[in-house]
């Protein structure tokens, strides 16, 4: 049983390597590390998991995006764990690679040991680089018939940029969490009616 399991893991590693070769030609160090972590049995993730230091870094960035103020912040709302779960469940190798490389790049700048002003200027630069990438990827919103949005972009070897991933997932995780919704919006489970109203100054958005 044990040896079977090992074989399976070996096979999966080969498969991931092959996919990486097909899409990118090379496989990043973080991805290899993630695979190693997985194979050592530390995670039941198929092909994505974070180390303790990566988790620390992710939490720090998420908390800078949505900090605790007079209302709870990203960490209070459980966003870091949400992001890791979402990356594992809803994204594939290109995004995993992009995300891990993004964390790696911050690490190489010794991000965690910088003061807040430096951290903010590093992330501001990352945001601008990411914007240029998104433009190059030709990301477009389109409307479906029933007014549904769909995002289209050119196929990318590396997937969405790190910043786009962490920012979207931080906002999604926070503004749909129980803590975040109750702190930010007026939550209405059953409106019971539809009416036109005038906005009052400082009025919160409704969440449904």
């Amino acid at each position: 049983m044990l040896s079977n399991n090992k074989n399976l893991k070996m096979e999966r590693r080969e498969v991931i390597k092959n996919i990486a070769l097909m899409v990118g030609g090379s496989i990043s160090l973080p991805t290899l590390m993630a695979m190693k972590l997985h194979e050592s049995g530390l995670s039941n993730s198929l092909d994505f998991t974070l180390s303790a230091s990566q988790r620390k870094l992710l939490a720090e960035v998420a908390e800078i995006i949505i900090p605790r103020t007079d209302t709870p912040g990203a960490i209070d709302a459980g966003v870091p764990a949400f992001i890791e779960m979402m990356l594992k469940d809803c994204y594939t190798l290109p995004e995993h690679q992009s995300f891990l490389e993004g964390l790696d790049a911050l690490n190489s700048k010794d991000f965690l040991n910088k003061n807040m002003a430096d951290k903010i200027s590093i992330l501001t630069a990352v945001e601008q680089e990411s914007k240029a990438l998104m433009k190059a990827y030709n990301v477009k919103q389109t409307k479906m018939g029933d007014n549904e949005d769909k995002e289209l972009m050119n196929a990318q070897k590396k997937g969405l940029p790190f910043w786009r991933l962490i920012k979207e997932l931080t906002l999604l995780g926070y503004f749909t969490s129980k803590v975040g919704v109750n702190a930010s919006f007026e939550f209405v489970l059953v409106p019971g009616r539809f009416e036109l109203v005038k906005l009052k100054p400082g009025q919160k958005m409704f969440a449904y």
Partner: protein, 572 residues
């Protein structure tokens, strides 16, 4: 011998309805209310109205992956996932597992399926529009496909019948292009939408109206009698409505049929074949296989309604071969499986709206604006395509999602995201697709599913008329947004859309006057096998550009009425 007679007795009904979705529900309701003992055979699992809508009241944080699709679901629901939203956690469990129910794409076909009680009537967009007079005359006028064997006047009373029963909200607009119906009170337009309506009327002389949807804006006594209540404006219809406020087979037709005590429903049973009685010259029943136990059984009836969903209804006819019908039941014309139509979508335009900062809304409207067809209508004449399209869409105010692509983070950014954002507006078109005999589906000769039923092969694509129309659909939407003075107009015309994505797939067993060129007569009866009625989208001879379910339901009620009349006369 005795045992056999007993078996046949227990398995014999006045009518069998194959499928419990949009049209199967109506067929069962009409037939039971007229006194027939009816068996619905549903291939999928049982979904109990209200009780099984397990995500209906979930808060955002109770939906694990929110609006993202897990990789696992994307793989299992590889076809459903082509339509935004269907593979999301809050509804994926209602959609058909495409991996376990494979089909073959000789050309890409976006086949959306929901195998369970109520079928896609649980998931539909609910927009409900009558066809106009010209829609029924267009094929004859253009020399395309076959002429409809009916005209608007034939179906008009059945539109009223169905509108009243399902409950359609709307405004009477007195437009030839979009006939008025029997409406519940209309839903409200938003302030910038009213402004848009006014501008487009003044500058382009083009009506923009509030959508007409099958949501109870004010429940009537016959709705509440079935346990249905007025809309609560949650706009979470697609999870199933615990109030029964939008129409589905589950909330409306099946409860109505059950009240008669003449309805039986069989779940998990796939009809593999309609049994043709060579001596009697008509169908005598159906053969089924249980999707779990694989046990096969037969059921018998005087009348069989085929409401399996347009593509599956055609596949069932093709799979029902006999001496009399070697190419499939009712397929003398070789038209079964051909002329696949749909409405092409994923094309339109968006813009931003300045002003209206103080205007907001409470509640979520399960409806939109509707822009009725204006192309090739009245004085308008396009040189590079025929027929036309309508748009759905409307205005909205940005929420926190605007922050994803915007610059910024930190305390001030976080605070800003809790506020109401600016207005934007967008429209997506629904375009008429022409019938083309080369756009077809057929049964594969070698590959079968796990129940031994041949896999469906799709070989269909958009033609020049649709492609030319799409360009105009994007341009004309942009032109209207410009006429209203809106800014940052962006056109879109998705190229990853195939037939099927409109989820209005239809046409594979068309009605017509001539058995040589059509499959069904003017009462949806199979030519030369008159006790078999096909009343779902398969029956359509052309597609119009309006959402089709109301027309399917009206045709079904009309056909059911005819079936009962014929039974009384003993002529079928």
């Amino acid at each position: 011998m005795n045992i056999n007679i007993k078996f046949e007795d227990q398995h014999t009904y006045d009518a069998i309805v194959i499928g419990s979705g949009m049209t199967g529900g109506i067929a069962a309701k009409e037939l039971t209310e007229k006194g027939l003992k009816v068996l619905i055979i549903e291939r999928g699992k049982e979904v109990e109205h209200v009780k099984d809508y397990d995500t209906a009241f979930k808060a955002p944080w109770e939906i694990q992956h929110r609006d993202k699709v897990p990789v696992h679901s994307a793989e299992e629901l590889w076809a459903n996932n082509r339509f935004v939203g269907l593979a999301q956690d809050d509804k994926a469990h209602f959609m058909t597992n495409d991996k376990q129910n494979p089909y073959i794409e000789k050309k890409p076909f976006d086949w959306i399926r929901a195998y369970h009680t109520g079928g896609k009537s649980m998931h539909w967009g609910r927009h409900s529009y009558r066809w106009n007079k010209q829609d029924f005359e267009a094929n004859a006028k253009d020399g395309i496909g076959v002429d409809w064997p009916i005209r608007y006047e034939d179906i008009a009373p059945w539109y009223s019948h169905v509108e009243k029963f399902v409950g359609v909200n709307g405004q009477k607009n007195n437009l030839d292009v979009l006939p008025d119906g029997d409406f519940l009170p209309p839903m409200l337009m938003l302030e910038p939408e009213r402004y848009f309506v006014d501008k487009v009327q003044k500058t382009l002389n083009r009506p923009v109206i509030i959508g007409r949807t099958a949501n109870l804006s004010r429940a009537q006594p016959w709705h509440t009698a079935l346990g249905r209540a007025t809309c609560q404006y949650r706009n979470k219809c697609s999870r199933g409505c615990p109030y029964g406020a939008y129409y589905s087979s589950l909330s409306g037709a099946i409860p109505a049929a059950k009240l008669t005590k003449r309805l039986s429903i069989l779940h998990d049973s796939i009809v593999t074949e309609i049994i043709y009685d060579e001596a009697g010259g008509k169908a005598k029943g159906v053969r089924t296989i249980n999707q779990h136990t694989l046990q096969t059984t037969e059921y018998y009836a005087k009348v069989i309604f085929v409401n399996a969903g347009s593509m599956n209804s055609a596949a069932l006819l093709l799979n029902s071969t006999s001496k009399r019908f070697p190419n499939g039941l009712g397929n003398d014309s070789d038209q079964v499986g051909r002329n696949i139509m749909d409405h092409h979508l994923g094309v339109g335009a968006n813009a931003t709206i300045e002003g209206f900062e103080d205007d907001f809304m409470y509640g979520q409207r399960p409806n939109s604006l509707y822009i009725p067809r204006f192309r090739n209508w009245g004085a308008d004449k396009q040189n590079n395509y025929i027929r036309g399209f309508g748009y759905q869409g409307g205005a909205s105010r940005a929420d926190w999602k605007r922050g994803i692509a915007a610059d910024g983070f930190g305390a001030a950014f976080k605070k800003e995201m809790t506020k109401v954002g600016s207005w934007s507006i967008g429209f997506g078109g629904f375009g008429e697709v022409l019938p083309n005999p080369n756009n077809r589906m057929y049964l594969d000769t070698t590959q079968k599913d796990k129940w031994g039923i041949p896999l469906i092969v799709f070989d269909a694509s958009f033609g020049d008329n649709e492609i030319a129309m799409r360009k105009d659909m994007a341009n004309a939407a942009a032109e209207m947004l410009d006429a209203a003075g809106f800014k940052n107009i962006t056109k879109n015309n998705r190229q990853d859309v195939h037939l099927g994505l409109g989820i209005h797939e239809m046409g594979t067993a068309r009605m017509g006057r001539d058995p040589k060129t059509s499959v069904l007569n003017k009462f949806n009866q199979v030519h030369d096998c008159k006790n078999v009625f096909v009343t779902d989208g398969a029956a359509m001879a052309s597609s119009s550009c309006v959402n089709p379910s109301l027309t399917y339901m009206a045709l079904t009620a009309r056909a059911a009425n005819h079936a009962v009349e014929e039974l009384k006369k003993r002529s079928i």
